[in-house]
């Protein structure tokens, strides 16, 4: 039993920080985020069985966390930032806009651009539709690759790929919107 506990801790420990980073994006408060991580680990611990011939990837923990978020949403006792939505696989797998030109950005020197991003990029992320925000969040905060994200979302890798591309395009549009508000981009020509 002690060995199982130690193995579980060895598995969980490297994911501890990333679980918190993602939890903070799923729920609105720090207290809820800590509760969500604890709930995730408790569920994982109950289902953890190293004797089984299976591997426990980081994606497994995030799958459990997502399931907990869905349960919390049902309870409606928490303010959830992210509402998992039904997939629209057909439209996502046959995108017709991923090759469109990117939203224009004004010329800025590198330092100014970084400062601008540091001030606005999280707000631009938060403004994304939830299914787009989630793939970016699992990638950036969770450190998962596309295959692992597909495992968490239970969808094909192609869906993750197109969703990520759309998310990044939307993120850029949001950033351009902020830049416009701040007077850094003039209204686009007709």
């Amino acid at each position: 039993m002690e060995a199982t506990s130690q193995e579980f801790l060895r598995y969980v420990r490297p994911q501890w920080r990333r679980l918190h980073l993602v939890a903070r994006r799923y729920v609105a408060s720090e207290v809820d985020a800590q509760d969500l991580v604890q709930e995730t680990l408790l569920r994982a611990w109950r289902n953890y069985s190293p004797m089984q011939e299976r591997t426990y990837s980081p994606a497994w923990l995030f799958t459990i966390m997502r399931s907990a978020v869905v349960d919390w949403q049902r309870e409606r006792q928490r303010r959830i930032n992210l509402v998992p939505a039904p997939d629209s696989e057909l439209t996502e797998l046959a995108p017709d806009d991923l090759a469109d030109p990117f939203c224009p950005f004004p010329p800025m020197d590198e330092e100014r651009f970084r400062e601008f991003l540091d001030d606005t990029v999280v707000a631009a992320l938060e403004a994304l539709d939830h299914q787009f925000r989630e793939v970016v969040m699992l990638s950036v905060a969770g450190g998962l690759n596309y295959r692992e994200i597909a495992e968490v979302l239970d969808c094909p890798v192609g869906t993750v790929m197109s969703r990520m591309a759309r998310a990044r395009r939307a993120l850029r549009e949001n950033l351009a919107g902020f830049a416009r508000q701040m007077g850094w981009i003039r209204e686009s020509r007709p």
């Binding site: 579980f8 490297p14 990333r18 207290v31 604890q38 680990l41 030109p101 990520m164």
Partner: protein, 272 residues
């Protein structure tokens, strides 16, 4: 490959999700198309800044400490009250209890000291805390090497360029010891050069940064081979540090202290 095709695959390319042939094609296009190259650079910068900003929000993530680990010490935890979310202990209660227990220990230990009754074992030095935290952050996946290379000179050149520190790296004694790569980081708000080695399958980090007065306070001084080393332990890691010029070099590993000390003493340096 056309600009349109590049735009379609740009994000999986930037995320290293494409196979090698397609990646090479896209890279070739970017090398020859300034417009697409600029778009790629903008997207790369957005991705990097987003990652950096989100990472900084994790600076206050609670420590994965013994009390956390103890929650999973045994199966058969208390079953949840029906209709309520399952918990081992209500989280805030748990924190209150931990705080109260810590307070009791501090008060007890203070009393013990005042009455002269004991010589409590000191905790790790601040220096050891700093470098071990950085090592754990790296191993926990909080950051990755920015340059993967086993070439000590190339890695040292990269670190000198990126940190402006006059870093001199050990040349590992192959095949026992191997340089894996490096990254730039900050230790105690000081720019630092971080290199990671594989010593018989065990990771060893070597971090260099500008030395400041009081850095070695609370560490044990050890004289070996005419040089002074400072040694400490923190959360199961050995820390061995020495000073070279204006920089302090600190090695961190789960290797035993003597092995880590031997490793630092036997490695030659790339500019020696």
């Amino acid at each position: 490959m056309t600009c349109t095709e590049v735009r379609e695959y740009l994000f999986p390319f930037l995320d290293s999700e494409l196979d090698a042939p397609l990646s090479i094609e896209i890279q070739r296009h970017l090398d020859s198309c300034p417009r697409c190259a600029r778009e790629a650079e903008i997207e790369r910068t957005i991705g990097k800044r987003l990652g950096a900003v989100i990472e900084t929000t994790g600076d206050d993530v609670p420590v994965f400490d013994q009390s956390t680990a103890e929650l999973f010490g045994q199966r058969g935890q208390p079953e949840p009250t029906p209709g309520r979310r399952r918990r081992l202990l209500p989280f805030r209660w748990h924190r209150w209890l931990a705080t109260a227990a810590a307070l009791a220990i501090v008060v007890g230990a203070g009393t013990w000291l005042v009455i002269g009754g004991g010589d409590p074992r000191p905790g790790p030095s601040r220096f050891a805390e700093l470098v071990v935290s950085d090592f754990e952050h790296f191993l926990d996946g909080g950051s990755r090497v920015e340059l993967a290379s086993a070439d000590s000179r190339a890695v040292a050149d990269w670190l000198r360029d990126k940190t402006t520190l006059a870093v001199v790296l050990p040349v590992p004694a192959a095949p026992v010891s191997r340089l894996v790569g490096c990254r730039k980081c900050k230790i105690d708000d000081r720019p630092a050069a971080f290199a990671i080695y594989d010593v018989n399958g065990i990771p060893v980090s070597l971090v260099a940064f500008a030395v400041e007065r009081g850095d070695f306070d609370g560490m044990n001084e050890v004289r070996r081979g005419g040089l002074t080393y400072w040694v400490d332990h923190c959360r199961g890691h050995a820390v061995v540090a020495y000073r070279r010029g204006q920089l302090v070099y600190a090695a961190v590993s789960t290797l035993p202290e003597q092995d880590l000390l031997s490793w630092m003493m036997t490695e030659e340096h790339e500019s020696d």
